[in-house]
């Protein structure tokens, strides 16, 4: 009877101390640096992958026509505004002709004067011919001297030369006038193709230098994406591959496309390869030029090969490889050679792994060959 309270007390003490000790041992061994590292594992499987390339670019027009005067001058009128559709040959505007019209009128007057001069020359020439004939008829009768006949012959030749001169003068003035008219026509700004006005760089009254564009017109039937791919991940990029374009403003609706060409020159400064990607069907409402677009180029699918997720690839002592899980959860580093990869993180292994090998995918810490591991299903709550 006397022993019982003591025993009860001892039991109670044990009830407190024993779990405490158990917890302590658990804490000492299962947490902190001594605890095993949780990892997840995957078995290497044969799998075909469809690699793809990812790049970004901007929407550009394939053909841009910068229309402006060929001489310095002032813009007289401009009939089109940004967004207007224009047809080939349409007059978009005109440069100020300054004194060109006056000069054309002067040439007109000159032409008339030259006409008058021609009439005069013709009259002189007709008279000189008649005179010469008359004197020639009189010569056998001896009523005129031979010298007089020679003089008349010379006068006739001079009059004919003057006639030819007058005729050529008309041709010259006419050509001068033609030139002025051509110049006058050249002052008109004319659309070379059916197109869309995208810029109106000068308004009437503005003085522009020769070659400075006044209006920019693009061909709205030909848009492309000027795409840039990082050189490091652009192997296999070539013309004709299927692609997918996602515009920044319409990220939910991708457009089908195709690689038109890979530029022969890469960008050396930004270390990118440039390519032009065209829409298969141009969207109804055209995207604005310069809009950012994401381009995914699908490469031909590859035959099945051992595939691992890229999260399992590590570099240990300068070698790329994976951690193999051997018997009894012992780790062993296996150097591998990587093959093609797709954008979803699957990497083909060309050498170093065989089917059925168990490989560490995720780990709670960096691993080494001595790390104690503990294989679980997942390391985070939300991970797949």
């Amino acid at each position: 009877m006397k022993q019982l309270p003591l025993q009860r007390r001892t039991l109670a003490l044990l009830a407190v101390v024993a779990p405490l000790l158990a917890l302590f041992v658990h804490v000492a061994l299962r947490s902190g640096p001594l605890s095993p590292v949780p990892v997840t594992a995957i078995t290497v499987k044969q799998r075909a992958i469809a690699p793809a390339l990812f790049g970004t670019g901007t929407v550009e027009a394939r053909y841009t026509y910068r229309i402006g005067p060929t001489y310095a001058g002032r813009v007289l009128r401009l009939d089109v505004h940004v967004g207007d559709r224009v047809t080939a040959g349409q007059v978009l505007g005109e440069m100020d002709p300054v004194d060109l019209d006056d000069r054309i009128r002067a040439q007109d007057a000159g032409l008339k004067r030259a006409g008058a001069a021609l009439l005069e020359a013709e009259a002189r020439s007709a008279f000189a011919r008649a005179q010469f004939r008359r004197y020639e008829d009189l010569l056998p009768g001896g009523s005129v001297s031979e010298e007089m006949v020679a003089i008349k012959a010379q006068e006739r030749q001079i009059a004919e030369a003057a006639l030819t001169g007058a005729r050529e003068e008309i041709a010259r003035i006419r050509a001068d006038r033609e030139a002025l008219l051509t110049q006058r026509a050249n002052l008109r700004l004319i659309a070379p193709v059916d197109g869309l006005v995208i810029a109106r760089d000068a308004d009437p009254g503005t003085t522009v230098v020769a070659g400075q564009p006044v209006v920019e017109v693009i061909d709205p039937r030909h848009y492309w994406i000027d795409t840039r791919f990082d050189q490091i991940s652009a192997s296999g990029l070539q013309a004709g591959l299927d692609a997918r374009i996602v515009l920044r403003s319409r990220s939910t609706e991708p457009f089908t496309a195709r690689v038109l060409r890979v530029e022969p020159r890469a960008d050396a400064v930004t270390e990118e390869i440039l390519a032009k990607v065209v829409f298969t069907d141009l969207p109804q409402d055209l995207p604005p030029l310069g809009e950012l677009a994401e381009v995914t180029v699908a490469l031909p699918p590859l035959p099945a090969a051992p595939v691992i997720p890229n999260a399992s690839i590590k570099r240990v002592d300068g070698q790329l490889g994976v951690w193999l899980i051997k018997e009894d959860d012992v780790l062993e580093f296996a150097p591998v050679s990587l093959g093609a990869a797709d954008l979803d993180g699957h990497v083909q292994i060309s050498r170093g792994l065989k089917m059925g090998d168990r490989v560490v995918v995720y780990s709670g810490k960096s691993l080494s060959a001595k790390t104690r591991i503990h294989v679980t299903e997942r390391l985070t709550e939300a991970s797949p």
């Binding site: 003490l13 970004t56 995720y362 810490k365």
Partner: protein, 400 residues
């Protein structure tokens, strides 16, 4: 022989255990404080470990890229990669900023990594979910401490990034979680001004007569384009070939490329010795005070426990118990108290550690040292109590 200490503890075990638990919580706080200090140092080291670099090439005369800002041209890595002894060289950028997700934002260190595939310098060495970055734009791998989940869309400056992978313990030296994004995006994010600033800059440039010449229509556009381009990175991470000494590779870069190069040991000195030095000393100071306070409290508790049973001790003396036995009683109790305290402290520290916003690293060696420190403090504290107990007059057992 019966254990006097054991019997006495059993006599009022509740009081004893609860005193021990109270003491344990105090010891737990001390252990956590040591863990906070270790965690700070560990954060600095883990940043260096995770970058997987042997050498850091940074701007001349700077302590970059972590302790000071540094910028080097982004094509310099090519000439460094061609040096003998260099296995791999990769550009990297670091920018600590608020990363937005929906209406919330998280402080994170945005790290720009070259898209050269897993295992490259600067890449997260391991993941806990998802996959590594495969696209050269608009993908991110985030540390789990950011609270982001796979598939989340996060906003860095003006671009949205999809979180494709999660890591753990990828932090900056100040404990901010890291977010890895492709280098080109990071370069843009780092130097990209907001749209208003860009517009203002364009207007300013357009108002500069030298740039806006009517005779050179394309000049202004070209000038504006150069103003918005960025071809700088913060550092170049270099991995050295196995048979080369890092210092031997670093010397020609310092001498001929006129850049600053740090190796692992120097970088650690910069981070631990300069960057976190003051805050670490602050914590260290706090830890020292806490240890002294704990020791004082242990001493008081043991003293009070002894004083509580001074009458019983007098009785013991009266019946002729040897001094050794009485001293043993007090010493054993003090040590038992210390052990309970330490066990409770260790358990509470371990469970409390993950709740701290920054990393708390409880090192086993620290715990062992703590254990012996607790025992020594208990023994020293009991010495005072023993002296009092031995000096007690047996007459007190019967007298007032």
């Amino acid at each position: 022989m019966i254990s006097l200490a054991g019997r006495d503890i059993l006599h009022s075990w509740g009081k004893f255990v609860f005193t021990g638990i109270g003491l344990g919580l105090l010891i737990g706080v001390t252990l956590v404080m040591a863990g906070v200090y270790r965690g700070m140092v560990e954060d600095a080291k883990v940043l260096l470990d995770n970058s997987r670099a042997d050498l850091w090439v940074v701007q001349k005369d700077t302590l970059g890229p972590y302790a000071e800002s540094s910028s080097v041209y982004d094509d310099l890595w090519r000439s460094i990669a061609a040096l003998p002894g260099v296995a791999r060289a990769a550009n990297i950028t670091y920018l600590t900023m608020q990363v937005r997700k929906g209406d919330t934002d998280v402080r994170a260190m945005v790290t720009g990594i070259v898209a050269s595939g897993p295992g490259s310098p600067g890449w997260p060495p391991y993941l806990v979910a998802g996959r590594q970055i495969t696209r050269s734009h608009y993908e991110a791998v985030a540390d789990i401490a950011t609270g982001f989940k796979l598939g989340d869309r996060i906003r860095i400056r003006r671009n949205e990034y999809t979180v494709v992978g999660l890591t753990r313990r990828m932090v900056s030296s100040s404990g901010d979680p890291m977010v890895f994004i492709p280098l080109k995006d990071a370069q843009e994010a780092q130097f990209l001004k907001d749209n208003d600033a860009i517009l203002m800059q364009r207007r300013r440039t357009a108002a500069t007569p030298a740039f806006d010449q009517p005779a050179l229509p394309g000049l202004l556009d070209a000038v504006v384009a150069t103003q918005t381009a960025n071809n700088f990175v913060n550092a170049i991470l270099v991995q050295v070939k196995a048979d080369h000494d890092p210092e031997e590779v670093a010397e020609p870069i310092r001498r001929w490329k006129r850049l600053q190069v740090y190796d692992r040991a120097q970088m650690e000195r910069i981070l631990v010795g300069k960057l976190i030095a003051t805050s670490a000393r602050q914590i260290g100071m706090f830890l020292a005070i806490l240890a002294i306070v704990s020791a004082a409290i242990v001493a008081f508790i043991i003293y009070t426990l002894t004083m509580d049973k001074i009458r019983e001790i007098a009785v013991l003396k009266l019946i002729g118990t040897r001094n050794r036995t009485i001293a043993g009683l007090i010493l054993q109790q003090a040590i038992a108290l210390g052990i309970i305290g330490f066990v409770v402290g260790k358990i509470s520290a371990t469970f409390a550690a993950p709740m701290f916003p920054k990393y708390v690293l409880l090192m086993p060696l620290d715990s062992v040292a703590g254990f012996f420190a607790v025992l020594i403090i208990c023994v020293l504290a009991s010495v005072i109590a023993i002296r009092i107990a031995l000096r007690v007059d047996p007459a007190e057992a019967i007298g007032g």
